[in-house]
Symmetry: C2
Subunit: 424 residues, 2 copies
């Protein structure tokens, strides 16, 4: 088999853990598998480099540690973003070289590939580059030569040879893209949890590890608050039919396989439930119900780069409508400020916000064929007197917004009510 293994930052955080990863790589190779490894930077290194860059250009300001908007907007020139990518990509280069050395030291053959050596061609969007193609010739040659190939994750190069980074969760994306290009049999995501759970085990003690899940279900769960995998890497895996295996790097137990849909999967009504706490709700009341007005609201949000999640529109009496939608909680104030006082259809609707909400999503392929999942969900919530504020549904998902004080209760009620806590 050809196996791609991805180790996250916590798995390579110390030299001792790097040695542990090396042993695991060699154990995989000893089973006769060919192995490509993708590594993140040692935990903390990326943030250290970003803090250096921020302190450099904004002396005196507190360094922002979160990747995303690296620095204040005024500094985010394309030239600055290019340098930031050149800078932060060194973090993965270091962990890749160290892991390759550790494998060598344990008696294996290994080499690290970084930047242009990877053959991972992207567009020029620094900090959030899209993968355009992969030239796997070098990698293939080294594999044929018997080496374990250790790739720096999170990075590629553009058509000029400049280093680009893939954005948050980029190492997962690197791993899946390489697995697709090499036609790997499996892409293992090694992490500090042992798989994908029916829900968050910290909230629901009866949560159970899922053995097998379809891409579609994983996409919905990832999009609804399950943090194990970035949605982008799941999309990429689905598009290329790359089987993912999410498992712990601390022992050999199998984790969760994420695979193309299989016929028997629909026999399970619901696969998992997820809780998303970080949303806020905006309600515009008395919006004139004329064409184009609601579109204006969402054009304004798009211009601010704010992602709107759930939307509900109630057409009321007198040619007026109420519009309610949710946005990330961190963007709530900015979104409200942009809409407040806006004239729509000749009038200024009244605006209210609510950050004391949370969203619970029920995901399962079985919903397609099993009627009554929604009805059962509402019944379960009603039995606990939990009021549902908003509802949205897709083919394999139902999401409900409730007051945040009921979030954990709702999650437990739905999880156990759909029988997720018992082994199937």
């Amino acid at each position: 088999m050809l196996v791609v293994q991805k180790y996250g930052g916590s798995s390579v955080a110390t030299l001792e853990r790097i040695r542990h990863c090396a042993a695991r790589c060699l154990a995989t190779a000893a089973q006769g598998h060919r192995l490509v490894v993708v590594v993140s930077a040692m935990a903390g290194e990326t943030n250290r480099l970003i803090a250096l860059a921020n302190a450099l250009v904004q002396p005196g300001d507190a360094p922002q540690a979160s990747r995303g908007p690296y620095v204040a907007p005024a500094k985010r020139t394309p030239e600055h973003e290019r340098e930031l990518d050149q800078l932060v990509a060194t973090g993965e280069g270091q962990s890749a070289a160290l892991l390759a050395m550790a494998i060598q030291d344990a008696g294996g053959r290994a080499l690290s590939l970084v930047g242009a050596q990877l053959g991972l061609l992207t567009d020029r969007s620094h900090g959030r580059a899209r993968i355009l193609g992969i030239d796997a010739a070098r990698m293939q040659r080294e594999l044929d030569d018997g080496a374990i190939v250790v790739c720096a994750g999170f990075q590629g190069t553009d058509d000029r040879g400049d280093v680009t980074t893939l954005g948050r969760g980029g190492s997962d994306t690197s791993a899946v893209a390489l697995a697709a290009a090499l036609r790997a049999d499996v892409c293992e995501i090694l992490t500090d949890v042992d798989g994908v759970y029916t829900t968050d085990p910290r909230v629901v003690p009866t949560a159970r590890k899922i053995d097998r899940l379809s891409f579609e279900e994983m996409l919905e769960l990832a999009g609804q608050g399950a943090k194990v995998l970035q949605i982008r890497s799941v999309e990429l895996a689905m598009r290329h039919g790359v089987c993912l295996h999410v498992r712990t790097s601390f022992d050999d137990r199998p984790g969760t396989m994420i695979v193309p849909e299989e016929p028997q999967m629909e026999s399970v009504q619901v696969s998992g439930v997820a809780l998303e706490r970080n949303e806020g709700k905006i309600t515009l009341t008395g919006v004139p119900d004329v064409p184009g007005v609601v579109a204006t609201i969402f054009r304004i949000m798009a211009e601010l780069g704010i992602v709107v999640d759930m939307i509900i529109q109630n057409t009321g009496a007198g040619g007026r409508t109420d519009v309610t939608f949710t946005v990330p909680e961190a963007e709530l104030d900015r979104a409200a400020a942009a809409l407040a006082g806006q004239t729509m259809g000749g009038e200024v609707p009244s605006l209210s916000t609510d950050r004391e909400i949370c969203k619970i999503s029920i995901v399962g392929l079985g919903m397609r064929t099993h009627a009554g999942v929604a009805a059962k969900a509402f019944a379960l919530l009603a039995a606990e007197s939990i009021n549902v504020q908003m509802v949205s549904t897709s083919e394999i998902k139902i999401s409900v917004v409730v007051h945040e004080r009921y979030g954990e209760l709702a999650l437990r009620v739905l999880h156990d009510g759909f029988g997720l806590g018992v082994a199937p």
Copy 2:
């Protein structure tokens, strides 16, 4: 003019110093010059990375900080050396990106180039790569585009695209090689001293900064213990006729220009004197004076990779000869162990070592035409009752070995005796 400026690790050791370098780069550009900058890693970073690598492969051992033999010989496989190069080269990549950002932040245009982006092609000798050629197309394009090009020093790539490093002082070598390829008007080496001195000012208080020096003199001084410039970068500059300017990065005063020989240079008899403390002496007594025997000694040294500096052979009575030579003090025991008990010409000569020696070298183009420099030197030393143990001469250099307790005295006597302490 096209100017290449090289900033050492101490000049980019902190964010504040990086901002200072950025200001200096912009001042140079504001004078209408096109500018290529070469940077070392932030002081301490290279050693930090090497220590990480050593601790990884030799857990429990004290990390060796000195670059050179990175790790214990058993670990120095070609594969390990490759990874070490991939690892340590990230240090210069980080400082290059940070300096480019600092220039941008101060209002300039800049971009960093690392690894394959540099177009600096080397052979595959990791840790001590030789430069084979430079493809300056990208650099030229960026210069034409008005940018200050910030290059990661110390590194290149081989024909496979693998990162190589140039060995100790490699950033100086990078700077000179780029200056040669770009036909730069001058290559400025910005450092924490303000030029090349007639001798070590810490030992001889009357030492004076030299304004202008020939390549040949600088080569001899560098080879004899003056630490300002690595001999390899001076050789490269001489071969390509690249004018070097060694100056401080802390202010704007001119430093020392190192240039092709000029006619008036020979009017100065002696340009500088240097003290080398880190040599040791081996004497083999009673070596049979038959052809090939002495060659055996130096073949053994060559096989161990030990560089022999001064050699003296006295043919004595009875077909026997004494051979005395110096090696780096750190290699003295290894050299002696390899020779001890060796049969030479059918006999085992007796061996003695002496580490309490030092070497003083007098360098000057004027020696070629001014007879009597050697005679004057010996008279100056004799007047202080300093015994000369070994002598070796080249066209523009005289070196003498004396007991190490007289080293500093000898240096002062020769320096002031040749009038170096007074402005010419």
